[in-house]
């Protein structure tokens, strides 16, 4: 499933990286501790987190996750948006919790 297809089925607000919406999503990873994300998230995963500062873009690009969803209504910082646009990493904001998002994503067929 592409990021754009996932977007059509979930209530998310895209704040950056639209040029990466053609990325394919394979599974998801939920986590806020960056060294765990680095070692455990897999290429193509949708990454759900409450972290919103610039460093999530470097992590996302190194691990090659398909997109980042920042949950719990947390706003993404302008520096993060700029960097994500530069590196074509789609970032979404959501008011939902990580658990609610996980249910939505499973409902959409992301396993």
């Amino acid at each position: 499933m592409k990021v754009s297809e996932m977007l059509a089925g979930a209530e998310l607000n895209q704040v950056a990286g639209e040029s990466g919406n053609g990325n394919g999503i394979k599974g998801a990873y939920i986590g806020d501790l960056l060294s765990l994300v680095m070692s455990r998230a897999l290429e193509g995963n949708l990454w759900i987190t409450i972290q919103a500062h610039e460093n999530i873009v470097a992590v996302a690009s190194l691990v090659e996750v398909s997109a980042i969803v920042v949950c719990e209504g947390i706003h993404v910082e302008p520096g993060t948006v700029a960097k994500a646009n530069e590196l074509d990493i789609p970032i979404f904001e959501s008011k939902a919790s990580a658990f609610e998002l996980a249910k939505t994503m499973i409902g959409l067929g992301i396993q």
């Binding site: 060294s35 765990l36 994300v37 680095m38 987190t49 972290q51 460093n55 470097a58 190194l62």
Partner: protein
């Protein structure tokens, strides 16, 4: 016998510079991709470089990182100007961290960086002198 170094790159890493933290690692990843190295190796090298780079930003007064690409191995080295590590075995323990609140708020400080680096390396060594600095070498075999 003189040693063949296919390529080497040096990076200067500043203390507390969270804004650009990760850019040296991103550059290292780009180089390894351009050289056509296999994806699993690139992933391990990316983890090693990122964890080393962030440690320089968070835990040191500044330092440098070096990538060496040899025909049979990729080596990533860091050297910093202090403060050094009092107990290296403790620092290598999963979950041990002295990261401050600012770093923790950003998601650093799980105490998993050094253990991740060792796990991703085929060869790993660390030397540290309190009051002087820390020297870390990580090697991944190619092929």
């Amino acid at each position: 016998m003189t040693e063949e170094v296919a390529a080497s790159f040096d990076y200067q890493i500043e203390k507390d510079d969270f804004k650009i933290a990760g850019s040296a690692s991103s550059h290292i990843k780009k180089i390894l991709k351009q050289l056509g190295l296999p994806n699993p190796l690139i992933r391990r090298a990316s983890i090693i470089a990122y964890e080393l780079e962030i440690n320089l930003v968070i835990h040191t007064l500044g330092g440098s990182m070096r990538l060496e690409v040899h025909p049979d191995r990729v080596v990533i080295l860091t050297e910093d100007i202090g403060p050094g590590i009092e107990d290296v075995d403790q620092a290598m323990t999963e979950g041990y961290s002295t990261a401050n609140d600012t770093a923790r708020e950003m998601g650093f400080g799980a105490g998993m960086g050094l253990p991740n680096i060792r796990r991703c390396s085929d060869e790993f060594s660390i030397r540290s002198t309190l009051g002087e600095g820390t020297w870390i070498r990580s090697e991944i075999h190619v092929g």
